[in-house]
């Protein structure tokens, strides 16, 4: 059975399309990523799938329930973690968890095994009010609250935005463990490095899906030549690179990446020469390893 099926779902706000004919399927026990810049329509898709927003067109099913007709069943069976922290800030960690367990007619004890690993980190602060937790702790608590009723599908809208890199890594480790419990996860993120942690990723821009593939497939099928360059004057380097014909260049860590357009060939020495001619010194150039981020930049341009 598919965890989520979305068929041509659309949503407009005041006549402006936010989601345009989006279709995808999520398998059971899969981590499915929605990757795209801010305003791409990720949150709208989440709100439609969690029955908080009615689609203008198309249909969607979560765990074979229709998002419009069977909203009540879906609300019993999914966990949703909105992008904005939305637990009761004036209740303590324990009270929040207890509250969400009881409204789902269950108890903390019953599904403790699901949250145990996360909750042990929260335990020392269990009497602290949720509003007084650090960003990472808040996310962990929100995940616990979304998990406490053993949902079949978990929807996580930018769960790691504003969280430090260590906590982010931990968070993704937890998601992998949940996957082993056969919980399907739909997660959105604006961070490219997190995309590679998903089983499959859909890249979204301006409300439309550009591609759906496994991260490995995307990287393998990058297809273009990719160079990394470094020079003493970084700003001038990026300026000069713009003038290299039939290439795209962008800053990438301490390097700049140059992607050669399909159907063109280029030698590293050609680029080096071009840079020297423009008075750049300390030029280092070599082949770059393709990352998921390069794939997206390629897709989005």
């Amino acid at each position: 059975m598919k965890a989520v099926i979305a068929e041509n779902i659309s949503k407009q706000y005041n006549g402006k399309p936010a989601v345009e004919k989006v279709s995808f399927e999520v398998d059971e026990g899969e981590i499915f990523g929605l990757i795209g810049p801010d305003g791409a329509g990720k949150t709208s898709i989440f709100r439609i799938l969690t029955t908080l927003l009615l689609p203008d067109g198309g249909s969607a099913q979560v765990h074979h329930w229709d998002v419009v007709k069977d909203w009540r069943a879906i609300r019993n069976a999914v966990g949703y973690m909105p992008g904005k922290f939305s637990l009761y800030q004036d209740l303590t960690v324990e009270e929040n968890l207890h509250f969400f367990a009881t409204v789902f007619n269950t108890s903390i004890q019953e599904n403790y095994h699901l949250i145990e690993e996360i909750y042990v980190q929260l335990e020392p602060f269990k009497n602290r009010r949720a509003g007084k937790l650090s960003g990472g702790m808040k996310q962990k608590l929100a995940l616990c609250c979304a998990l406490i009723h053993k949902p079949k599908v978990l929807f996580l809208d930018e769960p790691t935005t504003g969280v430090d890199p260590v906590s982010r890594r931990e968070f993704w480790e937890m998601l992998k463990k949940l996957k082993q419990q056969n919980i399907s996860i739909v997660v959105s993120t604006p961070y490219m490095d997190e995309a590679s942690m998903c089983d499959r990723i859909a890249s979204i821009q301006s409300g439309s899906i550009l591609s759906i593939d496994t991260p490995q497939y995307l990287v393998k099928n990058y297809g273009n030549q990719l160079f990394k360059v470094k020079a003493n004057d970084r700003y001038r380097l990026l300026e000069v690179l713009k003038s290299v014909p039939s290439t795209k260049s962008y800053a990438f860590g301490e390097y700049a990446h140059i992607s050669v357009e399909k159907g063109h060939q280029m030698e590293a020495s050609e680029i080096r020469q071009h840079l020297h001619q423009n008075g750049l010194t300390g030029v280092e150039i070599g082949d770059a390893e393709v990352t998921i981020e390069d794939c997206f930049i390629n897709l989005l341009h």
Binding site: L52, L53, Y80, Y88, F104
Partner: protein
């Protein structure tokens, strides 16, 4: 049922955790009831009078001593020039000028008639009105006494005069406090119920918790009941505190039945909470809800019959007031507390408020959606 229990548990916990709100709920009404009835007093005292005595006769002296002998007037100046006295009105030193013309006594005795002149500063309408009325009262009394004297001197029969005496029912000493306290209590109950319910639900929207609650199986009416019941209880607590204060401080004990009083408050609170709920469904932020609520409160209070009698308002206003729930509460509180009205007396008002409760809550329920 179980869900409501947990929602209530959560709600009360949140309310009592917010110390400033608890303090506001408990102390604000008590403090206001302690202070406002002393300040919000219609009785006009200390009316400043500038006298212009151009006669200097014994009659004039007698009139002046009558005026200064009453509690209402302060004689701030006594001159013989009207212009000078008028300037003291301009400089706000006097509220009214009484001119006793030259030959006041002579003309009065000879012609059996005389005129006094009263100039009133009408910037403060109430004070001007009442000041002039009090002054006329004093002069009338003096006039009556003069008539008796003159007639007895002339051995003429004393003309028959009809005098009106009156007694004040339900508030024998015509104390404004007795009149104001139930009204202020009505306002407090309305404010606590209306503001708290409106702001609380909008806060859930603003913070985003409502998103999280909406994806749970909590039913719409459960959520709303979970919000209404705590504020309904708090409204009753405020009302009880208010009754205690008016008994201990002002000695006002409800003449009518307490059960009737609480029954009316029970229904009234449902209406007010429904109104708060309705506003919350239309507002996205606490600021919006606050302003909308404030706007309505202003209208409710000023057109509620507490400060100015409804009967003296223009017809369109009287029609508008029929949809002002506060006006019913003020009326009914005064009826039960001061007059001892019974169920049959307040039944029409109770019915209207019940309709308000059903209408407002129904509208709010329809407008509150878990899905947009």
């Amino acid at each position: 049922m179980r869900t409501i229990k947990f929602l209530l548990y959560k709600e009360f916990k949140q309310i009592f955790r917010n110390r400033s709100i608890v303090a506001l709920i408990l102390f604000m009404p008590v403090m206001q009831l302690l202070i406002l009835p002393w300040a919000a007093d219609y009785e006009v005292k200390n009316i400043n009078v500038a006298l212009v005595d151009q006669d200097h006769s014994t009659y004039a002296q007698e009139l002046i001593s009558k005026i200064s002998g009453s509690n209402y007037f302060n004689i701030v100046s006594s001159t013989s020039s009207y212009d000078e006295a008028y300037r003291s009105i301009e400089s706000d030193a006097a509220d009214l000028v009484l001119l006793i013309p030259p030959n006041f006594k002579r003309d009065l005795v000879k012609n059996k008639a005389q005129k006094l002149f009263l100039a009133v500063n009408a910037i403060n309408g109430t004070k001007a009105n009442l000041g002039a009325a009090y002054m006329q009262e004093v002069i009338k009394e003096y006039n009556g006494k003069l008539l008796t004297e003159i007639h007895s001197v002339g051995r003429n029969p004393i003309p028959h005069r009809a005098e009106v005496t009156f007694s004040n029912w339900y508030n024998p000493h015509l104390s404004y406090k007795v009149f104001m306290v139930p009204g202020i209590l009505a306002i407090l109950v309305t404010m606590v119920g209306g503001f708290l319910s409106a702001l609380n639900i909008v806060k859930e929207k603003e913070v985003g918790t409502i998103e999280q609650v909406n994806v749970t199986p909590i039913k719409k009416h459960h959520f709303i009941l979970g919000k209404m019941i705590p504020f309904w209880v708090l409204g009753n607590v405020v009302f009880t505190l208010g009754l205690i204060v008016s008994w201990v401080i002002y000695g006002i004990v409800p003449v009518g039945s307490l059960l009737l009083l609480y029954s009316f408050i029970a229904v009234y609170l449902l209406a007010v909470l429904g109104f708060g709920l309705l506003i919350s469904t239309y507002s996205e932020t606490q600021q919006q809800a606050m302003f909308v609520m404030y706007f309505f409160m202003m209208v409710f209070i000023l057109m509620g019959g507490l400060f100015t009698p409804i009967e003296s308002m223009p017809e369109w206003a009287q029609e508008t007031i029929k949809i002002n729930p506060l006006s019913y509460l003020i009326k009914v509180l005064r009826m039960i507390v001061l007059k001892g009205s019974t169920f049959s007396d307040i039944a029409p008002h109770l019915g209207t408020i019940a309709l308000f409760a059903i209408g407002l809550n129904g509208w709010a329920m329809l407008n509150y959606k878990k899905t947009s």
